[in-house]
């Protein structure tokens, strides 16, 4: 289990009293804590980083106990090895971008020199294209540049996980979209576990492999309803309309097969409760929703065996390059499926209109809905 958190904390008194009572487990690479401002998300993230000491409970990261009130374990923040991106970035105003990035790499009581170097500093200056800005102070940087410096600073020490507090809230809309894509690409490249907190559904769309909904200090376990509602609004979706052709009931989850036209079938794994709530049965009209970012494109499936249950064969209709990612549209027997892949994969796969391709997605990434 990557994350196993169960903590409580009470702060303030009287009308100012706030109780945090959050518990969640997750094993995904990208976890999003979602909820309105003031719900206790930042407190939760700071507890994970060791910056806030819970009253009770425990925190485990990748099997290691970082905090356990009962056993008296409380690893200090400096030894938890978590990168932390603060909401307003918290760059040291008296140090240059380069010194900020080198800050955690040297111990002792003296700050790194103005010309601090080393492979890690140089690598991050290059990776995040900060070299021309290396000698600037934080107040000489734009919001987006500050975020990149803060990111480089957090990553330079090669942390075991990256904690992000509303990473895009301080930016304006167009920049937000670009940096969101950049961060998603960086995360995928580093394979670094992240916990991101946000009140912005667009962040959920871009980053959530799993989501914990925190409201008024309480983690709400089943976010299914929210996700469904959210997906309905989202533009980056695939909506495949059809009828239920089979339901295989399981102990917790049901496997629902939809016949979605063009002779294609889509398999979805949803909870037992959802099947009942939606009134799903063979023959009932329903639709399947799949995030474009959940769809994997396989160019030559000749001998490859994939575990994903949904594999729709077709040909590429169009490839639309964006800033970082490309949107690939695949025609699978009359069914149009949109996939978002990185530009580099689109290039290396040689994706172009007319190329045969397979659109692949897991049954667990499909959301089933009915229209009433």
């Amino acid at each position: 289990m990557k994350w196993d958190v169960a903590i409580t904390k009470t702060v303030g008194a009287g009308a100012q009293r706030f109780e945090l009572d959050v518990a969640f487990q997750s094993d995904v690479e990208r976890l999003v804590l979602f909820g309105p401002s003031g719900a206790g998300k930042t407190m939760t993230l700071k507890a994970i980083a060791g910056l806030m000491r819970p009253d009770a409970g425990r925190i485990e990261m990748a099997g290691e106990t970082l905090f356990d009130a009962a056993r008296g374990i409380d690893t200090p923040a400096r030894r938890r090895d978590c990168g932390y991106l603060f909401q307003e970035y918290a760059l040291f105003p008296h140090l240059t971008a380069r010194q900020n990035i080198a800050f955690g790499l040297s111990g002792g009581w003296r700050n790194p020199r103005r010309d601090a170097g080393g492979p890690a500093v140089d690598r991050w200056l290059d990776t995040l294209e900060l070299r021309p800005l290396a000698d600037r102070f934080p107040d000489q940087l734009s919001g987006g540049q500050r975020q990149r410096v803060a990111l480089a600073r957090a990553l330079a020490g090669e942390p075991r996980a990256l904690l992000l507090d509303e990473p895009f809230a301080a930016l304006d809309e167009p920049l937000r979209n670009r940096l969101r894509a950049e961060l998603a690409e960086l995360q995928a490249r580093l394979q670094l576990p992240i916990v991101l907190i946000t009140h912005d559904p667009a962040d959920v769309d871009a980053f959530a492999d799993d989501i914990v909904h925190i409201d008024a200090g309480i983690a709400i376990a089943p976010p299914a309803q929210f996700l469904e509602e959210h997906m309905m609004r989202s533009s980056a979706r695939n909506q495949l309309v059809g009828t239920v052709s089979a339901i295989i009931a399981g102990a917790v989850n049901d496997e629902v097969e939809l016949s979605v036209g063009g002779g294609q079938h889509v398999v979805a794994t949803i909870t037992h409760g959802s099947t009942a709530r939606l009134g799903l049965a063979v023959g009932v009209p329903a639709f399947a929703l799949v995030k474009a970012s959940s769809v994997v494109v396989v160019a030559d499936a000749g001998e490859t065996l994939l575990s994903a249950r949904n594999q729709l064969a077709g040909t590429v209709l169009s490839v639309q390059p964006g800033a970082v990612n490309a949107e690939v549209e695949i025609d699978a027997g009359g069914l149009r499926i949109v996939a978002i892949v990185t530009q580099s994969s689109a290039r290396s796969l040689g994706l172009a209109p007319g190329v045969p391709a397979l659109a692949v997605f897991k049954a667990s990434s499909v959301i089933v809905g009915v229209t009433r």
Partner: protein, 224 residues
């Protein structure tokens, strides 16, 4: 050497020592008041600021009670360590340091309170221990505010009169600082000496202010 120059040298020596003492103690006290939560914090703060409002003669009297030859600390100091503070330049340093202490303490507290706690948290997450966070983040960011207080403290210690006179007396060449020498000269009707001393004091103060303007950075790099 001319007694006026000796008095000037003594004043500078006393003020420098007093300021150095205040720098260490005032920064420590200011930091504790800004960052630690303990019962009676505001009471401690008020007591530490008392020297600012109490008449210097009252402070001098308190000092005599504590470090005088029959005072509870003074008797012990002289009996065990052989250190005498009354009627010595070290006594003058103590008096000046106490009178000037609130300037450093108050400005240090305000400066530390102005440092964003999130910056200290960022440093901790990046692997720094408490002392390293203090010397690499907190102190550099609070330094400008502290320095302003330190310069005021130096000026106050340089001109200190009442408490110093009560504790250290007015022994020419040993404890007679510039401001005390002015008083003595006027009392003795030595107008010529008084004129010279007053001119010296004024010139020194202008020099201190000019120096302060050069030392205190008008702008921390990167901060407008």
């Amino acid at each position: 050497m001319d007694p006026a120059w000796i008095a000037l040298g003594l004043s500078l020596k006393v003020a420098l020592w007093a300021t150095a003492l205040d720098l260490v103690l005032g920064v420590a006290a200011g930091f504790a008041l800004a960052r630690l939560r303990f019962p009676g914090r505001e009471l401690v703060d008020s007591i530490l600021l008392l020297p600012m409002v109490l008449p210097p003669t009252v402070l001098g009297y308190y000092l005599l009670v504590v470090v005088g030859r029959r005072g509870w600390l003074g008797g012990w100091l002289e009996g065990t360590l052989g250190i005498r503070l009354v009627f010595t330049w070290q006594g003058a340093v103590l008096a000046a340091a106490i009178v000037a202490f609130p300037f450093v303490c108050k400005s240090a507290r305000a400066a530390f309170e102005n440092v964003d706690l999130q910056l200290e948290q960022a440093a901790r997450v990046l692997g720094l221990g408490r002392a390293a966070v203090f010397f690499r983040v907190t102190l550099p960011l609070a330094w400008r505010g502290i320095l302003a207080g330190v310069l005021l403290a130096f000026a106050r210690a340089f001109g200190e009169f009442g408490a110093t006179l009560m504790v250290a007396g007015s022994i020419p060449g040993r404890t007679q600082t510039l401001s005390i020498a002015v008083y003595e000269a006027v009392q003795a009707g030595q107008d010529e000496l008084a004129n010279l001393l007053v001119l010296l004091t004024s010139a020194s103060c202008i020099a201190i202010l000019l120096l302060a303007g050069r030392i205190a950075p008008t702008r921390i790099p990167g901060r407008s």
